[in-house]
């Protein structure tokens, strides 16, 4: 029972272009969503988040979009840089402010080619 799904295991993008990573969820109780980035041999690091009361959150080159009716969120990276090459995980939770557990997707490996 995969409550958070990232259906694309990998994505390859040219430097300077847009990267779009997608994530779907099934639990309608989820009210907070996060994206994490992971380099090999390191722990994941927080990238950007969005509350269910919003449909967009932007931080520099990174923008997360949330479509609650479709239970879908996406991460846009513009422009993509070679240093963005990593595995990206989306995560969701139903009670973030009470220490609620984060459920992660399978991850998408992004490769940005020079």
């Amino acid at each position: 029972d995969q409550q958070v799904k990232q259906n694309s295991p990998s994505l390859s993008v040219q430097e300077g272009r847009i990267s779009i990573l997608n994530c779907d969820y099934t639990n309608s109780m989820f009210d907070y969503f996060l994206w994490y980035k992971k380099y090999p041999a390191e722990g994941p690091t927080f990238l950007i988040s969005i509350s269910s009361i919003k449909d967009k959150n932007e931080d520099g080159r990174f923008t997360v979009f949330l479509n609650k009716s479709a239970k879908h969120l996406s991460l846009h990276i513009v422009p993509s840089q070679p240093g963005d090459s990593a595995v990206y995980f989306c995560a969701a939770t139903a009670d973030y402010n009470q220490g609620g557990k984060l459920i992660f997707g399978q991850g998408t490996e992004l490769s940005v080619k020079p």
């Binding site: 990232q6 390191e42 722990g43 009470q98 984060l102 992660f104």
Partner: protein, 111 residues
């Protein structure tokens, strides 16, 4: 400020052996979590804790135990190691309204 520290970094166990994966954080975070990462499977929650003395099961708790006697430490215990427990284990912590901070992981092989 070291953040989240996990030890050991690597370990090889024989089937049936036991071991404890250590996790410590120095950020005074109330919430702590253990995840395992298997190839293509993402991060699966094993156990979590919302404060000292309080623990709860996550998605894949079978074969593991935890304790939380202090705010800083959240050890994960494997009693009878099995090949299915070969994985990379990540400990994480956070405070209210803040994102998870992860350690760098423990790579465990059970043969």
């Amino acid at each position: 400020n070291a953040g989240v520290t996990q030890t050991p970094k690597f370990r090889i166990l024989k089937i049936g052996q036991s071991m404890t994966l250590q996790c410590a954080q120095d950020m005074n975070h109330n919430y702590m979590y253990w995840y395992r990462q298997d190839p293509g499977m993402g991060l699966k929650l094993i156990y979590y804790s919302v404060g000292a003395g309080i623990t709860d099961k996550g998605e894949v708790p079978n074969g593991y135990n935890v304790s939380r006697s202090t705010t800083e430490d959240f050890p994960l215990r494997l009693e009878l190691a099995a090949p299915s427990q070969t994985s990379v284990y990540f400990c994480a912590s956070r405070q209210v309204n803040s994102p998870l901070h992860f350690g760098n992981g423990t790579r465990l092989t059970v043969t």
